[in-house]
């Protein structure tokens, strides 16, 4: 292939408990759009944060032209011609577009020649089709326009490598078209563009080169011409792994514990997050909703948990209609949230406080919090669930991810719920902890109906009895885990590809 602008060799980055990048190699070529494809948590953003100087790699090197370089800040990387548009924009809301674009530059040193800057911004806007008013304040702009400002910021600095982190997440379909045209323009000039995404159709539409990351490792370097089908791409991205053997009896479905009738809901920004959801979960079964993160799962779960309103439809828990804003929390519903530290626990409080978070009224009498009772119960739970902790007085944040998850599991299961909702219950856990969590969830199936929301195929195939695939807020299909023909279709369906075979 043609010459290389930059190559990353053997890049490894560890975070406490996580291997985010594992000896990743990547080469960038001038004039090419390079798609970095992978699921959430695959290590794409970490890798690009290393390239853009925000993180330093633990191992490996970045070679620019002929020389190895070490960036100690994004400024160094910018100086070397590498710039990144982050998912969360780095703009000052109450300053103008032109002011934001020159922000952080050393030249001009003192006076800002406003008209000159604005003229230059207008010229760049026209060249690349990035229409934006240089005098407008950022907080007047839509997210799509703000993104253009971020791109202009990099073009103004004349970077050779532009990195965009999930740029289409905030855009409308027509804005996406415009963005793609712009990126092609930019590449045509000989610059390299890196495009982080987990959306297959975008990759096939725009990329000249594709690198697929899974669990921190490169699983494939491809060019779009080599890709036979979206299905193949999806399999590479999601992986098709051996099902871990978990002892499991066939399900004996009992009464309905959770029922959704044509439910719809919005996301934070008021866009539809999930639509026309209709399904039921029965006691004695595990129903899994599987999908790539960001397809409406988390909004669906918050709606079921009563943390956000439905925009339509009926929700029944244990046969009773539930409304948003009902303040009672039923002891009969257990919830294992995706965000362990942010939602599931209180990092700065001790394990007693954490273990009673959703059941504390049981330990309160006449307004007094009976801490002795709670501590005794907490100690019992610690040993029952094999939590490695110095004692109930340890703080939640001192625990490892696996032990923290066991705390949450212990808390929710000790209520003996009749409905259990488990959201990514083993995300980021090691194999040992994963198996323990799985065993506990399976045991609960005897007395409860379980809704499992996961992006991990292995987990879904190991645990569930029925599977529903979610894509863009809709259920693609629902089928039994026994149905072997369908299992191969899960990966493609997660990426929005309808199965070829008709039932």
């Amino acid at each position: 292939m043609a010459q290389t602008v930059i190559s990353m060799k053997g890049i490894t980055k560890r975070f406490p408990g996580v291997l985010a990048n594992d000896h990743v190699d990547l080469e960038l070529h001038p004039g090419k759009i390079h798609a970095l494809l992978g699921e959430n948590g695959a290590g794409k953003t970490t890798l690009m944060n290393i390239l853009s100087g925000r993180y330093r790699p633990d191992e490996g090197e970045i070679i620019l032209g002929q020389n190895g370089v070490k960036f100690s800040s994004p400024r160094d990387a910018l100086h070397a011609g590498i710039g990144m548009v982050y998912q969360h924009f780095m703009l000052i809301p109450n300053q103008t577009v032109a002011e934001n674009i020159t922000l952080g530059m050393n030249t001009p040193r003192f006076l800002l020649p406003r008209t000159k800057i604005e003229e230059e911004v207008v010229r760049l806007s026209k060249t690349y089709g990035l229409a934006v008013d240089p005098g407008a304040h950022i907080d007047e702009l839509s997210l799509g326009q703000q993104q253009r400002v971020e791109i202009l910021k990099l073009l103004y600095r004349n970077v050779d490598v532009l990195i965009l982190d999930e740029p289409t997440a905030v855009l409308t379909p027509s804005e996406i078209e415009e963005l793609f045209a712009t990126l092609k323009n930019i590449a045509r000039e000989g610059r390299s563009v890196i495009f982080i995404t987990h959306k297959l159709e975008e990759v096939l539409e725009i990329a000249d080169e594709i690198t697929i990351l899974r669990k921190g490792r490169v699983v494939a370097h491809l060019s779009p011409g080599d890709v036979e089908s979206r299905r193949e791409l999806a399999r590479l991205m999601v992986g098709r792994e051996v099902v871990l053997k978990v002892e499991k009896e066939p399900a004996v479905p009992g009464e309905v514990v959770l029922e959704l009738r044509d439910c719809s809901g919005f996301d934070e920004r008021g866009h539809p997050a999930f639509q026309h959801m209709t399904f039921a979960v029965r006691k004695g079964e595990i129903f899994a909703i599987v999908g790539v993160a960001g397809n409406g799962q988390s909004e669906l779960v918050s709606a079921i948990m009563g943390l956000r309103p439905l925009s339509g439809g009926e929700l029944l828990i244990l046969g009773k209609r539930v409304h948003y804003g009902d303040r009672s929390l039923s002891d009969e519903v257990g919830y294992i949230p995706e965000d362990r530290l942010g939602t599931g626990s209180i990092p700065n409080l001790d394990l007693v406080d954490n273990l009673v978070l959703t059941s504390y009224p049981r330990f309160c009498r006449k307004g007094l919090f009976q801490r002795d009772l709670a501590a005794a119960e907490g100690g019992r739970l610690l040993s029952k669930f094999h939590v490695a902790a110095p004692g109930v007085q340890a703080l939640a944040r001192q625990l490892s991810g696996g032990n923290l998850q066991k705390i949450i599991l212990a808390r929710e299961l000790s209520k003996n719920p009749r409905l259990l909702i488990a959201e990514q219950p083993t995300h980021g856990l090691d194999i040992g902890a994963t198996e323990e969590v799985w065993t506990e969830i399976l045991r609960q199936r005897e007395t409860a109906g379980i809704l499992l929301v996961s992006g991990d195929l292995k987990e879904v195939l190991s645990l569930s009895d029925r599977i529903g695939v979610i894509f863009r807020g809709r259920l693609m299909d629902v089928f039994s885990v026994e149905d072997e023909d369908w299992i191969g279709e899960i990966g493609p369906m997660m990426a929005g590809v309808k199965p070829e075979r008709r039932r």
């Binding site: 406490p16 939602t343 209180i346 409080l349 406080d353 978070l357 959703t358 919090f369």
Partner: protein, 352 residues
């Protein structure tokens, strides 16, 4: 070689306490530089301050007199901060608490049995401060209005209202033109410890600190407040009434500051006059920060800062230095303690 800062995964108790000690030392050094630049011998100045504040039983009693309103205000700020709210309006709540208790003392006491006058003043002081803060609480809980702004603005309203009362309608007709209300009847005086100006407010504020400690450790309210303050998302998941707590915690916080006003009016001045609002509400913020919001810590920090204030006054009398040096020391201390708080979360290393 360069310095690198690495975030500690586990906070170190040694770093935290060492940092505290170091910041105290650094603050003293900085203060020393201030003394030196004002032409005084720093060691002599510190000696004068220490003797002035703690040199005799009477000096200590004067420190306690100043500590009482600081404790109330520190508890007020600390309580609100536990639920992630910054009540910077303790000064105004103190003023309105003073107004409320003075209303009882001046206008209602003739109609009350003498033993009920003080209890009614305590209630009126608490309600005055609490209702004043409730404006902030209501705006925050219902509309999400930033409590820092509203509580700060209301300080000015409250202080001008207080001044209006003792310059205007409540001014003592026999007061020879001095601004101030008439003296409260004796039934409205908080009893003092013999030979000192230390009044019963000291007992009340210590009790208040212990009650707050007990509420946090042993009651359902305390549990819910701790959870809301540490992780509102988890509190929402557990269906806690977050907005309700925001309102009531600000109300009680204001009530505590109101008690500071009541105690000052009824234990020291025996009337409303200039000198009731001298910044205890603001120093209360520093007290709460230095005590890391701990109620019992608040007691000790308040006494220490009161010592700085009393010692600072001595500097003026003995060495003719401005008494505001005490405030300078207070400021540098806060600066270093907050700094060490941040720094103790990191490990500093030399790296090649």
């Amino acid at each position: 070689m360069r310095l690198v800062f690495e975030r500690r995964l586990h906070p170190s108790a040694l770093a935290a306490w060492g940092g505290m000690g170091l910041s105290l030392l650094l603050a003293l050094v900085m203060g020393g530089i201030v003394f030196w630049s004002a032409g005084a011998n720093p060691f002599e100045a510190y000696a004068v301050m220490a003797v002035g504040a703690f040199g005799s039983l009477y000096d200590i009693s004067e420190v306690l007199v100043k500590a009482i309103p600081l404790i109330f205000c520190g508890l007020a700020v600390g309580l609100a901060a536990k639920i992630l709210l910054w009540n910077v309006g303790a000064e105004g709540q103190l003023a309105v608490g003073g107004i409320g208790s003075a209303a009882i003392a001046l206008f209602l006491s003739p109609f009350l049995p003498p033993v009920l006058v003080l209890p009614c003043m305590v209630i009126a002081g608490f309600l005055g401060g609490g209702l004043w803060a409730a404006i902030t609480g209501l705006l925050k809980a219902k509309l999400g209005v930033n409590e820092i702004l509203t509580s700060l603005m209301l300080n000015y309203v409250a202080i001008y209202w207080l001044e209006h009362l003792y310059f205007g309608p409540w001014r003592d007709p026999m007061g020879m033109g001095f601004p101030g209300t008439a003296m409260f009847p004796e039934t409205a005086w908080l009893p003092r410890f013999p030979q000192t100006r230390v009044h019963l407010g000291l007992v009340f504020c210590i009790l208040a600190a212990l009650i707050i400690l007990w509420i946090f450790a042993r009651t359902r309210w305390g549990y819910e407040i701790r959870v809301i303050g540490e992780n509102p998302k988890a509190a929402r998941l557990a269906r806690m009434n977050i907005n309700g707590y925001i309102f009531w915690v600000i109300f009680v916080s204001g009530g505590l500051a109101g008690l500071a006003g009541m105690a000052e009016a009824s234990g020291i001045h025996y009337r409303l006059q200039q000198g009731l609002t001298v910044g205890y509400g603001y120093v209360g913020i520093i007290v709460a920060c230095l005590a890391k919001l701990h109620p019992v810590g608040t007691l000790f920090v308040a006494i220490f800062l009161a010592g700085l204030l009393v010692g600072g006054d001595q500097l003026q009398a003995v060495m003719h230095l401005p008494s505001s040096v005490g405030l300078v020391l207070e400021g540098t201390l806060l600066f270093f303690v907050l700094g060490s708080d941040m720094l103790s979360k990191y490990r500093v290393r030399l790296k090649k």
